[in-house]
């Protein structure tokens, strides 16, 4: 187990390093990188400030040294300052994280609550109406773009039926009131993962239900409820859980899009604002912060699954 954690941690570190390299590499692809930090005549940087920035980024030194300087600053938690309002990027990021985590958690809950039971039902009632419904949902859900579901949900539930608010999350509202604002975004972001989970749970359950020990339990006269939930479900749970680590990364990507649709005050929205404002330090900070979040989440998920299923540790 410890060996697995060390190995997995190593991969995560390499991935984090690779992410910084990719971002750094891209930022140096376009001519003078100083232009990314201060547009000529743009945000009113004086020549002195520009010179100081040049010195800080080490633009007169070799590329490798520049990278190391940049990385060292990142390691200290210094992501630079936002160009638009000159605030510490790390500070801005910290303020926005909680909204993204709320949305991610809501979507995750939706995906699990819908996906897993539907997958089990679909497998148990194979080739009947519930199965066709489950398979239809799995097929439909994975093909629907999250931003489109979000917009259509706004149109139907907020504009036409006036059931739920479409707009953004008021941060000062009490927690219980916030849930109302969370429903539509969470469903939009969780739809795709729910479909994926349905599919995985279904195929895993089918495989398990077909195995010898299930037939034996049935012969022994174990009740059908117990066979499904106690004997089959617990064994079938492993593939969906392992795969969901990979799903989670793609799912956090989807959160960015949904945040834009619902004007959600999270990191994804922040990244896109940074794009539109040409705020390069804020953008790199956000992207790296998001990448870090994804790496941490997938790492924790992998470790948790290795703990549940010993076979994973030896792969």
């Amino acid at each position: 187990m410890q060996g697995f954690i060390v190995r997995r941690l190593f991969t995560a570190m390499v991935a984090a390093l690779a992410a910084t390299m990719v971002v750094f590499g891209i930022s140096r692809l376009a001519g003078d990188p100083l232009l990314l930090y201060a547009k000529p005549g743009g945000y009113g940087k004086s020549p002195e400030q520009t010179a100081a920035l040049k010195n800080k980024l080490g633009l007169d030194r070799p590329l490798v040294v520049q990278y190391v300087i940049w990385l060292r600053n990142l390691g200290r938690g210094d992501f630079g300052r936002s160009l638009l309002d000159d605030r510490q990027v790390a500070q801005v990021l910290r303020e926005r994280t909680s909204a993204t985590l709320k949305l991610a958690l809501g979507a995750w809950v939706f995906a699990t609550v819908v996906g897993v039971p539907l997958g089990v039902l679909s497998a148990v009632k194979r080739a009947t109406v519930p199965d066709y419904l489950g398979r239809g949902f799995a097929l439909f859900g994975q093909a629907l773009p999250a931003f489109w579901i979000g917009m259509m949900a706004i149109l139907v539930f907020a504009v036409k039926l006036h059931l739920l608010p479409s707009a953004t999350l008021p941060s000062d509202a009490p927690l219980l009131n916030q849930i109302k604002y969370l429903i539509l975004p969470a469903i939009a972001a969780g739809w795709g993962p729910a479909a994926g989970l349905t599919r995985l749970t279904r195929s895993a359950m089918l495989e398990t239900l077909d195995s010898e020990f299930i037939k034996f339990a049935r012969c022994k006269g174990v009740s059908s409820w117990k066979v499904v939930w106690k004997h089959a479900f617990r064994n079938a749970l492993i593939p969906p859980l392992t795969m969901s680590a990979l799903m989670l990364a793609g799912f956090l990507n989807g959160v960015v899009v949904v945040e834009v649709v619902f004007a959600w005050p999270g990191i994804g929205r922040l990244a896109l604002d940074a794009v539109w404002n040409n705020d390069f330090p804020l953008l790199t900070g956000t992207v790296l912060g998001f990448a870090g979040l994804i790496l941490i989440v997938t790492f924790l998920a992998d470790v948790a699954y290795a703990y549940i299923d010993p076979r994973i540790r030896y792969r």
Binding site: T11, A12, V14, A15, A18, A19, V22, V23, I26, S27, L29, A30, L36, L139, F140, Q142, A143, L144, P145, A146, F147, W148, M151, M152, I154, L155, V159, S203, P239, M243, L246, A249, L252, N253, G254, V256, V257, V260, V261, A271, L272, A274, V275, W276, N278, F280, L283, T284, T286, V287, F290, A291, I294, L295, T298
Partner: protein, 298 residues
């Protein structure tokens, strides 16, 4: 009496053919193939089919509803967008954009990924170790966000989108092709090819590659839907395909501000994305069950 017999017989015939029809629908992916054929034909012959130019603006007819509305016009079957461009024509030309993304990004990802996968599986040793670790790390990078940075630094362009998507496509091929090659490598006929004096390159090309073609086809079909969704997301965020070009994701984004009273602007492009991706996924599942049932876990 005679008439009832006639009717029941006619219904009997009808019922038979309906059952047969259902049987064919279950056995063959008819609906997805029809949708994809429409999509491909629309993409290839876009300028010939589309009733209008996708760029032609008509401000007087801006936000005309679809033809079945009282205010709609037969000139614009699916309505017009906020500057009076025909939604149907833009949809048809958008199919071309999606097809280019599929062909170029998937094609290059497939070529690079499969080549590396065959090399990793066949050669083994350190090259395998390095390639697999690289694929692992690559897999865990958030591409949507990297694409944001690239769009700001390099400026938005069609080529950039194709490049980013190609970069994100190859790693799935490496993983699965390698696993397949590992098992093919130990077959007798590969050993016999060696005995017969075939070089490593020849063995790989003539004896290994044909064995992994099925796997490659299946993975490509299963992956390409995700690729289209990724392109749509990028375009929706405004960092994908640059503005006047009719990309479906971009059309949805352009319709966002007019959602409340012109639902057709974002609705139809989203529907098109959904239909194409669903057909591809369905076809992928079907191909996998036919060609390579071992990939079921995917």
């Amino acid at each position: 009496m005679e008439e009832t017999v006639g009717i029941s017989r006619r219904f009997g015939v009808f019922r038979m053919s309906a059952r047969e029809g259902l049987h064919i629908l279950r056995r063959w992916p008819v609906v997805p193939v029809v949708i994809l054929t429409t999509f491909v034909v629309a993409g290839i012959f876009a300028p010939l089919i589309a009733p209008h130019s996708p760029y032609e603006q008509n401000l007087e007819a801006s936000r005309t509803p679809p033809a079945w509305y009282a205010k709609g016009s037969a000139k614009y079957l699916l309505g017009t967008d906020y500057v009076g461009r025909d939604v149907l024509s833009r949809l048809i030309h958008g199919a071309r954009v999606s097809m280019l993304v599929m062909a170029i990004s998937m094609g290059s990802g497939l070529l690079v990924g499969s080549t590396l996968g065959v090399i990793a599986g066949y050669c083994g040793g350190w090259s395998e170790e390095i390639l697999m670790r690289l694929a692992d790390v690559w897999w865990s990078l958030p591409f949507l966000l990297v694409a944001l940075v690239a769009a700001v630094v390099l400026g938005q362009s069609f080529g950039l989108v194709l490049g980013i998507l190609a970069l994100s496509a190859w790693s799935a091929f490496v993983r699965n092709v390698r696993a397949e090659v590992l098992s093919l490598k130990t077959r007798d006929y590969v050993a016999l090819a060696h005995v017969a004096g075939a070089s490593h390159v020849r063995t790989m090309l003539r004896h290994i590659v044909p064995g992994v073609t099925n796997t490659i086809v299946v993975i490509a079909t299963l992956q390409v839907g995700g690729l289209i969704l990724a392109e749509a997301s990028l375009s929706f965020l405004g960092v994908g395909i640059p503005a006047p070009r009719p990309a479906w994701g971009l059309m949805v984004a352009e319709g966002r501000d007019y959602l409340v009273d012109s639902w057709w602007i974002p609705f139809f492009p989203g529907l098109a994305i959904f239909l194409v991706v669903m057909s591809l996924n369905f076809l992928g599942d079907w191909l996998r069950d036919r060609l390579d049932p071992r990939l079921r876990q995917l």
